[in-house]
C-alpha cells in the first residue's frame, strides 16, 4: 500500500483561458477572482500554448460569462479552449423542425420554438444549467428580435447554445416575413 496518496487537484474546471504574455494572465486572474469565479493559474499543455506558459483554468461551462467579463474589463486573452486534448470544437450547427404554425430550432442540447406568424417565442427547452430556467421565463412571450440575448444575460454554455438557436430562429423568421 502506498504511504502517500497523490493529492487530487482542488479544482478541475475543464477549460483554459490562453494568453500571449504573463501580464495578461495575471490581470485576468485578478478580474475573475474579484468577480467570484473559482479559477487557478496553471501551465497549459504545449499543444495549446499561445505564446505564454501561463493559463487560467476555468470551469468550461462558465465560458460565456467569463469571456464577457474579460471583454468588459479590457482584460485581453487569446482564446478559451477545453483543457482535454481531442475535445471537439464548439458546435456551430443547428437542426430545424417545422410544426406547422411553429418552428423549433435546436442547437446542441437547447431548443427554441417560435410562432411563424408573429415571431413570438413560445417555448425554450432542453439544457440543465441554472441560467436556463431564468432565460425561459425571460424570453417566452417576447418577439425574437426583442427578447434578451442569452449570450448577454446568461453565463453558461447552455445559454450560448440557446443564443445560437435564437440567431437561427431570427434568420428563419426574417426570411419568411
Amino acid at each position: 500500500m502506498p504511504l502517500f496518496k497523490r493529492k487530487q487537484p482542488s479544482f478541475e474546471g475543464g477549460g483554459l483561458v490562453l494568453f500571449m504574455d504573463v501580464g495578461e494572465a495575471m490581470r485576468a486572474e485578478k478580474v475573475l477572482k474579484k468577480a467570484g469565479y473559482t479559477i487557478r493559474l496553471v501551465a497549459p499543455p504545449p499543444e495549446l500554448r499561445k505564446g505564454c506558459d501561463l493559463a487560467v483554468e476555468i470551469n468550461l461551462v462558465e465560458q460565456p460569462g467569463i469571456e464577457r467579463l474579460l471583454n468588459e474589463k479590457d482584460a485581453p486573452y487569446v482564446q478559451v479552449a477545453p483543457s482535454k486534448l481531442g475535445t471537439a470544437e464548439i458546435l456551430e450547427i443547428v437542426k430545424v423542425t417545422d410544426f406547422g404554425d411553429w418552428v423549433m430550432v435546436k442547437a446542441a442540447n437547447m431548443k427554441l420554438s417560435f410562432e411563424k406568424k408573429t415571431g413570438l417565442i413560445v417555448n425554450t427547452s432542453g439544457g440543465g444549467c441554472p441560467d436556463i430556467p431564468y432565460l425561459h421565463a425571460e424570453m417566452i412571450g417576447k418577439k425574437l428580435d426583442e427578447a434578451p440575448r442569452p449570450k448577454d444575460v446568461g453565463f453558461t454554455l447552455c445559454a450560448l447554445m440557446l443564443d445560437r438557436a435564437l440567431d437561427e430562429a431570427i434568420t428563419i423568421w426574417q426570411g419568411e416575413n
Partner: protein, 298 residues
C-alpha cells in the same frame, strides 16, 4: 424518502430544505413559493403529483436560488456532501445546477462512505457533471435526450456544446450505437431512459424496451417535459418499483399526458402535469401490474 436537489431561478432564494406541496401553479416549501416552470420546479411538481397519487410521502427538496452565477449550486452541493448521511434519503435525484467536476466527485465519495446507499438519479447538468467527473457508473438512472445521449457517448466532451459534430448529427435510428459507445466509454449510468421520438429504456447497455405511443412530437418543444419524466421516475423509484419499470411507466405517462393536454409547442409544462393524475387513474394499474386506490396503497 425521496430527496430532489437542484437550483431554481430565484436569485434571493436561500438554501432551503423541506417537504414540498403543490398549490395550483406554485410549489410551496418552507414558506417560499416557486413557480412551476422548466427545470427543477417542473421535476418536483411531477414527482409530487406522482407521490400524491400513490399515497406515499411527498418528496423533500433541497433548493437554492441560482440564475447562472453558480453560488447557489456550490452551496447546494457542499450542503449535500456534508449532510447526506444525516438526511438519509432512500432516493436521491440531482437536477439543475452549475456542473462542477470536483464537487460531483466529492459528493459521490460522500455517498460511498454512507452505509445506506440511496438510489442515485441524475438529469440536466448534474448528469453532465457526473459524466465529466467519470462518475456516471455510480448512478442508477440517467434520463438524457438524444443530444445529451451523444454527449454521454463522446469520451472527451465535458458539456453537450462540445460534442463531436458527427455525434450531434446522428439520427434517431443511431441511438443504439450511441448507447453502446456510452457504455464502453463508461459515460452511462446503469439504467438509461433516453427521451425522444422513440424512448429507449436501457440496462447495462441492453435495450429492454422502447416506447413510441402515443406519438406527441410537440412535447420536445415544451420546456420541462423532460424534467417531468425524471420527476416521475424518481417518485416511482421511491415507491420501490424496479428501475426499468419506473422508466417505462414514466415515459408512457408523459406521452399520454401530452396527448391529453392537446399540446402544441406553445403549451406550458404545468398544463401537461395537470393531466398526470387522470393518466395514472386510467392506466397505472395496467402499466404496472400493481393497482392503487387513489391516495393510498391497495
Amino acid at each position: 424518502m425521496l430527496l430532489i436537489a437542484g437550483t431554481v431561478p430565484i436569485p434571493d432564494l436561500p438554501l432551503t430544505i423541506g417537504k414540498v406541496s403543490l398549490n395550483h401553479a406554485f410549489l410551496e416549501i418552507e414558506g417560499h413559493r416557486i413557480p412551476c416552470t422548466q427545470g427543477t420546479a417542473a421535476m418536483i411538481s411531477a414527482a409530487a403529483v406522482t407521490t400524491n397519487y400513490l399515497g406515499i410521502d411527498p418528496p423533500q427538496a433541497l433548493l437554492a436560488g441560482d440564475t447562472g452565477k453558480g453560488k447557489g449550486s456550490h452551496e447546494l452541493y457542499e450542503y449535500l456532501i456534508k449532510n447526506i448521511a444525516e438526511i438519509c434519503p432512500q432516493t436521491l435525484a440531482l437536477h439543475y445546477c452549475l456542473p462542477d467536476i470536483g464537487l460531483m466527485r466529492r459528493l459521490c465519495e460522500a455517498v460511498t462512505q454512507y452505509a445506506q446507499r440511496p438510489v442515485m438519479i441524475a438529469d440536466a447538468a448534474s448528469m453532465y457533471a457526473a459524466k465529466a467527473a467519470y462518475k456516471a457508473q455510480e448512478f442508477d438512472i440517467f434520463t438524457p435526450d438524444a443530444s445529451e445521449m451523444a454527449f454521454l457517448a463522446d469520451p472527451e466532451a465535458t458539456h453537450p456544446a462540445y460534442i463531436a459534430r458527427h455525434l450531434f448529427n446522428t439520427e434517431a435510428s443511431d441511438i443504439p450505437e450511441l448507447i453502446k459507445a456510452a457504455y464502453i466509454n463508461k459515460g452511462s449510468a446503469k439504467h438509461l431512459l433516453i427521451k425522444g421520438a422513440l424512448d429507449y429504456i436501457v440496462r447495462d447497455g441492453e435495450i429492454l424496451e422502447t416506447v413510441s405511443q402515443p406519438d406527441v412530437p410537440q412535447l420536445e418543444a415544451i420546456g420541462g417535459t423532460g424534467d417531468t419524466i425524471t420527476g416521475m421516475v424518481a417518485a416511482f423509484m421511491d415507491a420501490e418499483l424496479e428501475p426499468h419499470e419506473a422508466c417505462i411507466i414514466a415515459a408512457k405517462a408523459n406521452r399520454a399526458a401530452g396527448q391529453y393536454a392537446s399540446t402544441t409547442p406553445a403549451t406550458s409544462v404545468r398544463q401537461v402535469i395537470e393531466h398526470l393524475p387522470h393518466i395514472f387513474k386510467e392506466n397505472l394499474c395496467q402499466w404496472s401490474g400493481v393497482c392503487y386506490i387513489e391516495g393510498g396503497k391497495q
